[in-house]
Symmetry: C2
Subunit: 259 residues, 2 copies
DNA sequence: TAGTGGTCTAGACCACATA
DNA sequence: ATGTGGTCTAGACCACTAC
């Protein structure tokens, strides 16, 4: 940030050196708000200060704060509600529950989705294999929590998931904790571990299950399945979860909107 | 639109009756610009009038036009370029070529993507079966153009596509025309048929190919493939293309960003 | 009634592109 | 030098929410 805040008499660093080093005022404000979100000054679901208050705090006009918040809202980091204020986004919010779940029933049926029946197969602390570590930006052998579970819709096993979480941040995670929690797992991560996932990337393939996977999903080893590898990130593009899912797509499909 | 343009003294309709019937001024302006885009007043790739000109035309402030254009830009309907102006988006633009193609090589290799070798298997005019007609909002038996082709990357057949297009809008489409055209097929649709696809929806499954499909992709019938059904829409949510693809995902994957 | 975000305007200056 | 979009400000009014 080289441009200074308005009433300040601060001088921009003499030689802006190599990088871009410039950014519009509203981007700088956005960065500051982001820092507060990251630091937990306002927690998921909480009201953040009004635009006027933030404008006063940062010594800029309301319009500048507004543009910063506009971008944060576009990235789903905060949620605006007219007449009430701006809230820190949360995976607990009804409107955005299961944001990252793109598997939908073929029948446009009502959200059976939240009603998934979960069966935890396994939940243990292990040393991260090289590939898992790489995807989570950890070192090989670092501790990670590993969870395996099956999600069933209307009694039919449909998703087999393996989840890896950094051991440090998710110390103490148990199968009981996961099964006990109602609602999205990502909401539990916010409440129990203070970790908020803000975006994710998925790589999708078609595969055949091995014998163990097939048995857990109660299908044959010649049933084609969707393989979905997801890396979920918290603030600052820090990866905090690796999830490998196998989706049965005979009664469901992965839905994607292209814009 | 019930709210009036500024200099007018018009009163909002007394009883707002049933519907919403209201929309902010900038939304109305957005709608007017959209109409011009739709009507072809400015064609894909062309410069649209400056914000000041549009403000004068519609008798609103530049800021209001700006907000309208902001939304159009966010929806990829126009593209802003500082210092130059605002352009009608086009699938020909280098930056957004193959926007709708989410299949990427596993090696983060340079865009081999455009370099796909295309082989047209078939291109004919047929009567739409019920399901195809439904997805294209046509009547069963209406004429549609049907294209089948194989895309190969570095010599390896990877995508088998069946494409259906409304016969009326795409009258005269030939295999030669498709193979002759360099660049995205969607760019050709703009140039040759004046049809611009603005968004699309995909449903993805894992499937096994039938004998014919397997042969065209040079794989066995037990090779799991990604089935991607895409409906592409032009302005006003009018469906203009149905595309069913089978993707070989041993060296490629479907990449998706979740926000 | 008071406070919030949402809309609209107007004017100033900046950064970029082109001639 | 000119014109474009990009940023920033300031002030006014509207619509929604809560008390």
């Amino acid at each position: 940030m080289s441009s200074s805040l308005p009433p300040s008499t601060e001088t921009p660093a003499a030689a802006p050196a190599p990088g871009p080093a410039f950014s519009p005022l509203y981007q700088q404000i956005k960065g500051l708000i982001l820092q507060s979100l990251e630091a937990g000054e306002w927690r998921p679901g909480e009201l953040i200060p009004s635009e006027m208050e933030l404008a006063a705090r940062f010594r800029v006009s309301q319009g500048t704060v507004r543009k910063a918040i506009d971008e944060l809202a576009a990235e789903n980091l905060v949620m605006r509600r007219q007449g009430k204020g701006t809230f820190v986004a949360t995976h607990s919010a009804q409107q955005v529950q299961y944001r990252f779940l793109k598997l939908h029933p073929d029948t446009g049926d009502v959200q059976e989705e939240g009603r998934a029946q979960r069966r935890i197969i396994d939940c243990k602390r292990v040393r991260a294999p090289a590939e898992i570590a790489r995807l989570l930006s950890l070192r090989s052998g670092d501790a990670v929590m590993q969870v395996r579970r099956v999600l069933a819709f209307v009694g039919t096993p449909t998703i087999l998931e393996d989840i890896w979480l950094p051991g440090q941040a998710f110390k103490g995670l148990t199968a009981e904790q996961i099964s006990a929690y109602q609602g999205p797992t990502y909401a539990m991560f916010e409440v129990e571990y203070g970790v908020r996932m803000v975006r994710a990337e998925e790589k999708i393939r078609a595969v055949l299950p091995d014998a163990e996977q097939a048995e857990l999903l109660q299908v044959s080893t010649s049933t084609p399945l969707l393989s979905v590898e997801r890396v979920a990130y918290t603030y600052n593009d820090v990866p905090m979860e690796l999830r490998r899912g196998l989706y049965l797509t005979d009664t469901h499909h992965y839905r994607n909107a292209l814009n």
